[in-house]
Amino acid sequence: MDQPNLKTTPLHALHQELEARMVPFAGYEMPAQYPLGVLKEHLHTRAAAGLFDVSHMGQIVLRAKSGDVQEASQALERLVPVDVVDLAPGRLRYAFFTNAQGGIVDDLMVANCGDYLLLVVNAACKETDEAHLRAQLGNECDIERLDRALIALQGPQAETALALLAPQCVSMRFMDIRTLTVMGAECIVARSGYTGEDGFEISTPADIACEIAEELLADACVAPIGLGARDSLRLEAGLCLYGSDIDETTTPVEAGLSWAIQKARRRGGAREGGFPGTETILGQLEHGAARHRAGLRPDGRAPVRAGAQLFAAEGASGQIGTVTSGGFGPSLNAPIAMGYLPSALAVLGTTIFAELRGKRLPVAIMAFPFIVPKYKRG
């Protein structure tokens, strides 16, 4: 790689040692795949355990100047249509910053760590997200970007592998977050992920990240996984990629993310509205949105990728939508995609058509997720 301006994560040397193929991503030099290859890395994660370097993402602490985390939660609710106030200590949830049109500025995870909130945001947006937080909440909150690594360990063997280093992880449920000592270092561990598998996201001090990663990789069932497989895993899980499936022009309702808007923030709720785009979003929650993100399963084996045009019928002239993400799902052994369709046409089980290399290919509309998630709930 010959791009001198790319940033590197604390695990960079490890990726090179493991002979990763490095690519630029969000201003960082990141592993796209290792010698195992995207397909096998994907399948390994679903069969055993995959280790991902996601240190490029932003980890931001939001701490009320008063020291009372409830104040930080109340403040954050001014920026997200999500119930943060009722998020209990030791729990995390999915959220998104919205704009005045109800569009999504970034999606993130927010965790209640007892004294403060920990936000994990997308790498490409972390500078603007931090500026947004400072501008909007800087009066009542201190905002601190953490200079730490973030390692995701995902798959049915993730718990067994992490338990060798941190036995208490076994008692964590899906969406719990705890501070655990791992190899003598204080790590923040969440039972969450971006793959549809059980797993953990581990925030570690930067200087011990490589050691922790190597120790996890020493377990025969843990393999290093690159961004290529990270994308195919999340696609199969029906999860959005910011910048592709959701952006400032898509509302959470259009994106099928209404489930993340808890009752307390909806019409009639204890803290109705009060976030950017309230009128649009609450209106769509009540009356529906004009378009909706749909799961797509092309006939045959050819992948239908982002940008492909969608039509209602084989001979139809009017484009009805565009694919926002698409690729091959190794666990399904079939191509899968997602895109926005007019709500009236986004009906499960119907067939629409995608244009691929000048021909119209039948595409079935399917529910998300494409695979069965294996979260350790309750």
Partner: protein, 120 residues
């Protein structure tokens, strides 16, 4: 004889029939192949015409006709199981056979040494 193109195809000539595939270097660049679309039998291709399509997990790639000829045979096994191309790109992973219009044109293509130099 075995020859190569700058688009990372290989050809093996037997009489006037050339077997065509993509090189190991190409498969390494592409990554895991998930879909192959072959030309039709009987298709008459000019040099440089799009002949086949290969889709890997990441992206689509065209396979071009390295020389002018008529498609006389297809390797349907790689359509059924695209992984064969990654496993044995210069053997079992062949794509199609062309009856070359001008077998002598093979002389103008790169030999193995030249191809190795190109791919470093």
């Amino acid at each position: 004889m075995l020859k190569y193109t700058e688009e990372h195809e290989w050809l093996k000539l037997d009489g006037d029939i050339a077997t065509v595939g993509i090189t190991r270097h190409a498969t390494e660049l592409l990554g895991d192949i998930v879909f192959v679309q072959l030309p039709e039998i009987g298709a008459k291709l000019a040099k440089g015409d799009g002949a086949a399509v290969v889709e890997s997990v990441k992206a689509a790639s065209d396979v071009f006709a390295p020389l002018a000829g008529e498609v006389v045979e297809l390797n349907r096994a790689i359509v059924e199981d695209p992984a064969i191309v990654n496993a044995d790109p210069q053997g079992a992973g062949w794509f199609f056979k062309l009856r070359l219009d001008d077998p002598k044109a093979m002389d103008g293509l790169m030999d193995e040494a030249a191809y190795k130099k190109l791919t470093g």
